[in-house]
Amino acid sequence: MVKTTSKDAQDLFRALRSAYAATPTNLKIIDLYIVFAIMTAVIQVVYVGIVGSFPFNSFLSGVLSCVGTAVLAVCLRIQVNKENKEFKDLPPERAFADFVLCNVVLHLVIMNFIG
């Protein structure tokens, strides 16, 4: 029973990997970027968990910078993905311009808040 479960899980993962291998490279880059941002945020949260939240605004701006840019990257991914028929008319360049603009505004606020 246990064996079958682990085999099922392995099969599931293999299926997932093969399905993901078909994803276009530009989407993979965005995924990697999202993972990078989330990981950075997690490291900061761990740090705060160990030593306490003394420069609280710095912590918040650090984590929100990561999470915010990750969310924006998710939005970019949705718009760039060709399988989303909703955004069919929207060129990926336009989506990237939005991403850059939003990041600029986000980081202005972050820098103001970092103290």
Partner: protein, 688 residues
């Protein structure tokens, strides 16, 4: 007539403010000098300080300290070395002038010849001053030395050319503003030049200096008490001189100039007297420099050739009728020595309250043994109060009248005190409506009383007494108060009014219930009668009155909270301790640094991931123009990010936003060009 009276009042009110007493130099100055000038290790410090101390002691006749043993070797050393600074030489000679150290004649000869050449080359006033004064000192210390100025007339002209049209002098030709202090130095220097001149100087030159002095005295300033002084209103390069040193310089200059010229200076004696009053008016100065300046100037005035001021002073200005005090007046010179034969006349004495003259034209009796002049005021029917006496000093010898300045009338404020009788004092409780007397008691205000009265709010309390002076006149003291204080320490003070000869107060309790806050109970009565001229001013507790007041209505004012201890207001407040936020606990530095490195790790992972995905830059535009735009676009983003870094480190929000505005427009333009180029290539690819 009324106009004349008004004019008289005007004159009186003008002269009242001049009433002030000046005392000649006395033992107070001597003890102050002994206190202020104290030798340390046998010297007084620098030569200048030594001279000031020695000169002050010389004038005051104090012979406490002998510093010649320790100072003479220093003086000799300085004179032999001939100091480069003319001021040091001058100070050393001044000290030697008093100490009379043994200096060989050829040293003086050498110094004198050097000084004579330096005077010929001198250009500024101070050069002339130190040179001429030093020569004058050598002349007095060693009469056989040749100190004569061969071209005195040229030096005189050079110094005179520094004078200004208003009688002031310039320190040098370059200096912008003239100074009164410099005028004093210049006059002293000119006096020195005249006395050192080998031949007689031109009288017309001396005449112009005389008129300069008269012009200088036009700028004299005046205090309300009649003292006159000079003041420099500017800050020049030689440091500011206050009124004391400026006036002192002028006095020294004028007196030494008048001493060397033939004939008299045309200066009114009153001005010299005013200057003397200025120096005496400062009392006993608290620092050594001021004391020296005062004593030295006063000594210059003591035997000057213009006119010698005589100072009228009173040993006591409070005279008691009970003790049968006599009015005593002293007339001395400024240094306290006796004056020539004279008579002091009391021109007028008037009360300072109502300006009515009480005494006129009395001659004071001179005491031949002392310089006192006295008047028996008991016989002259003068009553208790504050008066202004005006005296006139009349010199017997008509020749003296030219040489001495007495200053016309001198006004002096005088208090006459006496024992005031308190008569027919009584206290009563009256019925309000009928005015009939409920209880009436005689009071003995001179002794102890302990009244015990009772009243209700429909009654009145009346207090009545009379005050008479020793001459039987009614007396109106400065303060007459009745104080009622309740058990709860609520106090009420009433001013006792005067009607005719009587002092009377009626307290109608009906009208006062609100003021008394409806507080029934025992009130202590306290009577205060006081005046500066009253020898038996008193504050006595009369007793108490038991008041029965109605119940307080609801809206009645509450009595103010009484302080338990009045001194508690002035006690030091409790110390304020500031509480600061405790500094947050910081993690160890290694941990923070380790996490900083850790946050960079995902970025490397990201880069490695990119490499593994096989990312390339093939889509980067290859032709020149779009490539430039793409490069500029990336540079723009980098610029925005570095601007953010600067914003975090040092810039403020407004500068950042301004820069961001320009960068944003640039980025928009470049980004649009780049991305539209990319879009067009991708559509071309698709269509192909």
């Amino acid at each position: 007539m009324a106009r004349n009276l008004g004019f008289l009042f005007l004159i009186l009110s003008l002269t009242v403010c001049q009433a002030a007493i000046f005392e000649p130099v006395s033992d107070k100055h001597r003890s102050a000098a002994l206190h202020l000038f104290r030798p340390v290790d046998g010297t007084f410090g620098s030569f200048e300080e030594s001279y000031e101390a020695l000169r002050t002691f010389e004038i005051l006749g104090v012979k406490e300290f002998d510093i010649s043993k320790s100072t003479c070797p220093l003086v000799l050393k300085t004179l032999e070395a001939f100091p480069p600074s003319s001021k040091d030489l001058f100070d050393a000679l001044r000290v030697n002038h008093i100490l009379r150290c043994e200096v060989e004649a050829d040293i003086f000869e050498k110094i004198a010849s050097k000084l004579q050449t330096s005077i010929k080359e001198a250009s500024s006033l101070l050069d002339f001053y130190y040179g001429v004064q030093s020569l004058g000192l050598i002349k007095e210390q060693s009469p056989e030395t040749n100190v004569q100025l061969s071209d005195a007339s040229t030096s005189f002209h050079s110094i005179k050319s520094l004078s200004q049209s208003d009688g002031r002098w310039l320190f040098s030709f370059g200096s912008a503003e003239s100074s009164t202090y410099a005028a004093g130095l210049a006059l002293e220097t000119l006096a020195g030049v005249i006395s050192l001149a080998s031949s007689e100087l031109d009288q017309s030159m001396i005449g112009t200096v005389k008129s300069d002095i008269v012009k200088l005295f036009d700028s004299i300033e005046r205090y309300d008490d009649g003292s006159l002084y000079f003041d420099d209103k500017l800050l020049d390069t030689h440091g500011h001189h206050g009124p004391l040193s400026t006036t002192s310089a002028v006095v020294r200059g004028v007196t030494s100039f008048s001493a060397v010229i033939s004939g008299k200076l045309n200066l009114p004696g009153d001005k010299i007297l005013g200057l003397a009053r200025f120096f005496l008016g400062i009392g006993v100065p608290g620092n050594a420099k001021d004391l020296f300046t005062q004593i030295d100037s006063v000594a210059c005035l003591e035997d000057n050739k213009v006119s010698i001021p005589l100072i009228l002073s009173l040993p006591a200005t409070v005279l008691s009728l009970t003790k049968k005090d006599q009015l005593k007046v002293k007339v001395n010179t400024v240094l306290g020595s006796s004056a020539p034969p004279l008579t002091v006349k009391l021109v007028q004495a008037f009360s300072s309250d109502n300006k009515i003259p009480v005494l006129e034209n009395q001659e004071l009796n001179a005491d031949p043994e002392s310089s006192d002049h006295s008047l028996d005021i008991l016989s002259s029917n003068i009553d208790v109060g504050k008066y202004i006496f005006s005296f006139r000093v009349v010199l017997h010898d008509s020749e003296n009248k030219k040489n001495y300045a007495t200053g016309g009338q001198t006004q002096v404020p005088i208090f006459i005190t006496g024992f005031i009788n308190v008569d027919s004092s009584e206290i009563a409780i009256l019925d309000s409506d009928l005015g009939s007397i409920e209880t009436k008691q005689k009071l003995d205000l001179s002794g102890k009383t302990s009244l015990s009265l009772s009243a209700n709010h429909l009654q009145k309390l009346s207090l009545h007494f009379e005050l008479t002076t020793p001459h039987g006149n009614s007396f109106h003291p400065h303060q007459v108060f009745l104080k009622l204080s309740h058990e709860s320490k609520v106090e009420h003070v009433f001013v006792v009014g005067k009607s005719g000869k009587h002092f009377k107060i009626i307290l109608d309790f009906l009208g006062l219930v609100e003021k008394f806050y409806y507080l029934s109970g025992k009130y202590d009565l306290q009577l205060t009668v006081g005046d500066a001229a009253m020898e038996n001013s008193f504050l006595i507790v009369l007793g108490h009155v038991e008041l029965d007041l109605p119940q307080a209505p609801e809206k009645a004012p509450r009595p103010p909270p009484q302080l338990v201890d009045p001194s508690s207001i002035y006690r030091p407040k409790p110390e304020i301790t500031h509480i600061f936020r405790a500094t947050e606990k910081r993690p160890p530095q290694e941990l923070s640094l380790a996490f900083s490195c850790l946050t960079v790790l995902p970025f490397f992972a990201f880069l490695i991931g990119l490499l593994r995905l096989g990312v390339n830059l093939k889509n980067f535009p290859s032709s020149a123009l779009p490539a430039t735009f793409a490069l500029l676009f990336h540079c723009g983003i980098a610029a925005v990010l570095s601007l953010y870094l600067l914003f975090w480190l040092k810039l403020d929000l407004f500068t950042t936003l301004k820069a961001l505005g320009f960068l944003g427009i640039f980025l928009l333009f470049v980004g649009h060009r780049t991305l539209s180029h990319l879009a067009s290539t991708s559509t071309k690819l698709k269509s192909a």
